[in-house]
């Protein structure tokens, strides 16, 4: 599966009001091309909801529902069961942000995964609560300055490291878990296709660079995603029933410094902070690849 295999027709219209350069609309548009029109979409409160579904407008060309912040997992479970009862084959997909996944939605998500509901859960991860003005979440990386972890005299940005949500989902031993990056189209599309073709609970986790919240030039969105992968800040792999089946390894690993350079949220980093972040990346790398970086 490659870019050229994608259909022309889009199920997500232009005219939405995402910030210029936001990665999220490109992510959902391309995913929807593969999911197809027999799909029903659920979104909790987040940027995606607000830029694509502000009443009375809608950018989606499929049935689309807005549910509460904390219950994406529960909603997609119920709808999937209702369709099964009716004997209709409909793909049920939830698109939630990192806040709606790592923090407030984790209980409903974990329940749906444990029951192996027949649905796809997509977390688009922009590493903070962007819709409400850039508050830290469990996905925010160490040291990032957000409005609730403002770098200054008291604290140097967020004190804790990013939680490994994909690993938590892998531990549920569900049929499919994959991490994706829009900067790697072939890998991205193959994983979306695989998710569509798999039955049971599927979890897709995609990094979604946010020029507004990360404070970088909007033309650099894809570059940021690529550097996140190349530095090991973001790792790409697939797991089936808890076993890792495929890992992408960057050809050349770049230092995290390269990745954080162009981003305002890391502007205050000292050499010690860079080292701390690098140590975290290296630990993660060693766990995943079974070798020292």
């Amino acid at each position: 599966m490659n870019i050229k295999d994608l259909p022309e027709e889009s199920l997500f219209t232009p005219g939405h009001t995402a910030c210029a350069g936001c990665a999220a609309p490109a992510i959902v548009r391309n995913m929807m091309k593969i999911f197809g029109k027999d799909t029903i979409v659920y979104t909790p409160a987040n940027c995606l909801l607000v830029f694509s579904g502000t009443y009375p407008h809608l950018a989606w060309k499929v049935p689309y529902l807005h549910e509460a912040f904390e219950n994406t997992g529960a909603c997609i479970s119920g709808v999937a069961r209702a369709y099964r009862r009716k004997g209709r084959k409909v793909l049920v997909v939830g698109f939630a942000g990192d806040g709606g996944t790592y923090d407030i939605g984790i209980q409903a998500l974990s329940g749906a995964a444990e029951r192996n509901e027949d649905a796809i859960y997509v977390c688009y991860d922009n590493e903070a609560y962007m819709n409400t003005g850039i508050q830290r979440s469990g996905a925010t990386p160490y040291g990032a300055s957000t409005t609730t972890t403002p770098a200054g005299r008291k604290i140097p940005g967020k004190l804790e490291h990013k939680k490994d949500m994909a690993e938590i989902m892998r531990a549920h031993e569900i049929p499919y878990v994959a991490t994706l990056s829009i900067s790697h189209p072939k890998d991205f599309l193959e994983k979306v296709k695989k998710a569509k073709e798999t039955e049971g609970f599927r979890y897709l986790h995609v990094l979604s660079p946010c020029p507004t919240g990360w404070r970088f030039d909007p033309s650099k969105t894809i570059e940021m995603a690529r550097k996140a992968v190349d530095s090991g800040m973001w790792t790409l792999y697939e797991a089936e029933y808890g076993e890792i089946t495929n890992i992408y390894k960057p050809k050349k690993k770049i230092p995290v410094e390269e990745y954080i350079k162009g981003q305002g949220r890391f502007r205050h980093f000292t050499p010690e902070m860079i080292e701390e972040l690098q140590r975290w990346v290296d630990r993660k790398w060693e766990r995943l690849y079974g070798e020292k970086p």
């Binding site: 391309n30 407008h57 049935p63």
Partner: protein, 298 residues
Amino acid sequence: MYEIRFHGRGGQGGRMAAEAYALAAFLEGKYAVSFPFFGAERRGAPVRAFTRVDDKKIRIKTQIYEPDYVVVLDETLIETEDVLEGLKEDGMVIINTPKKPEEVQLSKPVKCATVDATSIALEILGRPITNTAILGAIAKATGKVSIDSIEKAIIEKFGARLGKEAGEKNAKAARVAYEKTLVGVSQGGKEFVPRKRWLPTVEEMPIGGAIGTLQTEAGLVGIGSFIENKTGDWRTFIPVVDKEKCIGCRLCWFYCPEGCISMVEDKATVDYDYCKGCGICANECPVNAIEMKREVRE
């Protein structure tokens, strides 16, 4: 007391401008308050900010409905926002535009000041952020606050956020704008047509709340209806595709956040009605077939 209403787009810094203006007035011994107003929308969407200045304490907390001055940070807003709404009889509009005041088309002739703040910002700051340059224009047009106080306020406010050097550059942008501002009277006669909003009553709502695609007086609503929202006027830079160079790889088509690139005879073609000018396509094109150019609008 006098009141200023700022019209900008999210991300253009209208709120910072309103705050910095209030600070400048405060530095001259006045009482001043400022605050923004925005809905649930993102960067690029129309937003308003307000500043009130008085010789005594200010107790009113409402939005400003009858401003003495209206400041328009983005000229394209004149088409979609009723910028003259409630403007006092002898009020004035201050607009960021390369046009002369006499060339500006509004619904009636009003006192009008113009400055090409975008070009000034690009030249001095290297970015199309016009919220400091426009402050210089306000000082010149209104004569209510000195350019020295504007500069001080900018250095204090922007310097604290962006560093000393950036603060000084922004102050310079204001000074240059101050010198280049033209004051005159606008054209009238261009009627402003407000967009109708479709807000159904409970009886009109389909049972269960499901809405298909509906054609209403206010335009399309429901499934796929965002297509009617033309976001092309958010843009400062415009991507220009060199069809000779384009190899039809579709990367820009895949990455464009707006989905506004289509492939015509295997060449990338941009729908400028929607392109927000983010520059991703130009940045990602493997053969540099796309160039971002400063947009010139009629």
